[in-house]
Symmetry: C2
Subunit: 281 residues, 2 copies
């Protein structure tokens, strides 16, 4: 695996690979890699000639007061994991490369970026779309793989790609879970032992909803109410939102139909966790 | 010259040209072409293998109440002019191609898009950057040529290209004028005979400022005051702004220095005209 830190060097390398007819798969990350990220690398390897992973903790997608400063970082460990996973190129730019002094340009996907997590974290998704567009312009991937854990992010990126006529194909990767069901996240490291136990309320809520739907309940208001009541039993859990939406356009649904998706955001202590699943009839 | 209306067809053609190693020059326009546009085509031809011109009256860069509906259009005449100028490909998309139902994504260059024309026309430049980014993603030009008449637009596009790590090189084209000095513009067709005469106050203001600077005046406030007094003598002219700015970052200057640029926007009757020039010591 080679590591490239400069945008200019990355572009030169990409030109070389494109000229040689290589198909490029790309996995953008903020590092502190776990099996979720590595599953995306695996998908990329299965469909591309060259797999590029970027590690960049993007300051523009953190709000003031959020965890940008303490976001976990361990580049040495990340590099070892990427070598083992068969990543070809690590792109590792710094802030000065990505946002030099006087930076002014932002991309925004209206409506979709204002709801759900965007409602609790205003400006977050503009930071995401801006950095992802920049990375796409630098890496010029044929495929970019995004995990379904950040489901709203996946939908917003797909919409940006469609609207801006980009050539990259967005590939979703399934949520990877700990043995007990907690969705893998770099932020899980923030959890105390007790919080780690209570964090399971997210996964259990997904299963509760699936059971309710399996038993014939279609009224989303009732399903959401059951989940709210269930999560309230966990004293360290504070619900940010519980929504059932159309899995393509994220519009709230009154009744379960073909493309329903349950999305959760719950604060466990000071740590905000998200999870989601399909709800099919 | 071939005409392409669909984005998909354009992308396929571009792939073919890129694979053949052709350098692509691109001139985005809103049509109703004049010698200013054709001079940009000429520049493109001198530096590229293939010259592509787009004609698209972009609704997103007109504000409610502006002249989108009555903006002059004459595709037949435009095609004849482009054939004569040696354009290779005309890209002629419609609104449904560019902004299909449910379109949501916008690009914005902060600060630069809020001042000068952006102050009088809020949202205008977001419409410009959005459509230009889309066109760049479709046409993938090596060079894109923009006239200096829309000087603020040129600076904003350059900033977007730099910030978003795009590969296109932006080439400026000099202002082309009528024999008496009026800067060519598709909007000149709106002017009555009397307005057409008074519209010369813009060009004359540029010359007045150049003379003042040549005679040693460096204080921009005094130069601007002289121009204001001069334009006030024209009864159909209403000043929108008269500013002297740094020609790279558009910041207002107190004193003429190396990179000074005079920018004017003046309403002649109902028609808003702009013009600009360098002011050098």
């Amino acid at each position: 695996m080679i590591t490239i830190e400069k945008i200019r060097d990355m572009k030169r390398k990409i030109d070389e690979l494109k000229n040689a007819g290589k198909k490029i798969g790309f996995v953008p990350t903020m590092g502190y890699l776990h099996k979720g990220h590595l599953s995306l690398v695996e998908i990329s390897k299965s469909i591309s000639d060259i797999t590029i992973v970027s590690i960049y903790v993007n300051p523009k997608q953190f709000l003031p007061g959020e965890d940008f400063e303490r976001y976990p970082r361990d580049i040495k460990r990340d590099k070892d994991l990427l070598v083992e996973a068969g990543c070809d190129i690590l792109f590792l730019p710094d802030d000065n490369e990505m946002y030099p002094e006087g930076y002014l340009t932002y991309v925004s996907v209206q409506k979709l970026s204002k709801i759900l997590c965007g409602h609790s974290r205003p400006g977050h998704f503009d930071g995401v779309t801006t950095v992802v567009l920049k990375l796409f312009n630098i890496v010029k991937p044929d495929y970019a793989i995004f995990g379904e854990k950040d489901y709203q992010q996946l939908i917003i990126i797909k919409k940006m790609v469609q609207d801006l006529n980009l050539d990259v194909k967005i590939i979703p990767g399934k949520i990877i879970r700990e043995e007990d069901g907690l969705a893998m996240s770099s932020r899980n490291v923030y959890l105390s032992k007790e919080e780690r136990e209570q964090a399971l309320c997210l996964y259990k809520s997904l299963n509760l909803a699936k059971d309710l739907v399996k038993n014939g309940l279609k009224d989303t208001e009732k399903i959401i109410s059951e989940i709210n009541n269930f999560i309230k039993k966990f004293d360290k859990a504070e619900i940010d939102y519980v929504k059932i939406v159309d899995s393509e356009n994220l519009e709230e649904l009154k009744e379960i139909k073909d493309r329903a998706r349950l999305l959760l955001a719950v604060r466990i202590g000071k740590t905000r966790l998200i999870d989601n699943c399909e709800l099919s009839l």
